[in-house]
């Protein structure tokens, strides 16, 4: 998919683990892992809001569009 989720970069920048983020936003690690590995087909606004709130970022910081993919 041309849209890539840059959750791994943000987690690295914020020094937060996937487990910690999952606990904070109330989403299972399995689901968050799907998001992180770019296997997700859609993201709910509520998930996007929770991730942005906890990582203190904008949705644009989380998503990236690549023309070539």
């Amino acid at each position: 998919m041309a849209i890539r989720v840059k959750l791994d970069h943000l987690l690295l920048d914020r020094r937060i683990t996937l487990t910690e983020l999952a606990d904070r936003i109330g989403i299972t690690i399995a689901n968050l892992s799907v998001l992180k590995t770019n296997k997700a087909k859609a993201v709910r606004f509520s998930t996007l809001e929770a991730v942005c709130r906890e990582l203190n970022c904008q949705p644009g910081d989380l998503l990236e569009w690549n023309r070539d993919e």
């Binding site: 689901n31 296997k39 997700a40 087909k41 859609a42």
Partner: protein, 208 residues
Amino acid sequence: MTPIKNPIPSLLVVLLNVAWWLVALSMALTMCIGALSAFSPIRGGYFDIPISFSVDPRTLPVRAPSLGIEGAQIEHARGTVRFSPPEGASLVVPALLGLVVMLALALFVVGQLRAVFRTLRDGRPFVPANATRIRWIAFAVMAGELGRAVVMFSSNSYVMTHFSANGLRFDARPDFNVFTIIYGLIILAIAEVFRTGTRLDEDQSLTI
């Protein structure tokens, strides 16, 4: 999501398992009889062959005096002719071969149904494989009906060629059941709806 166990699919899986084994055993038995008959001809027993016939109105007049109907005719009646095969007649092998083909088709359909109900029992029916299985069931239903029509026509032709009876006129008709083909098409449509359902389910499960 934890799969929910449903007792009805579990029961159906058991019934389909029994049906599958029964059909498989029948098929194995038929093949054994076929193999044996190749070495030593089977004596005794009889054949039932489906027939289509019309009754000569001069031999058997049909009337309804209360309705004022005279000279009605019996046309394209269905039945079977039962006979003991003469020695040396090569009927056993083609008959058993036809039976094996029909049993193989039944085995295939029951096998596919069993696989579908297994996924239903496990609480995860919306898998792409089920759409394919349902599609194959639809094709098998339609192929089975076509095969049945061919068998009917062949047996009718056989009787028409070799048998005769006073007052009866044997004819050869395929007895093609359009409704079975329509059922097959309905199952095919359900398979395609199911395929769309599996896509939606996949999308739903990958929406975070």
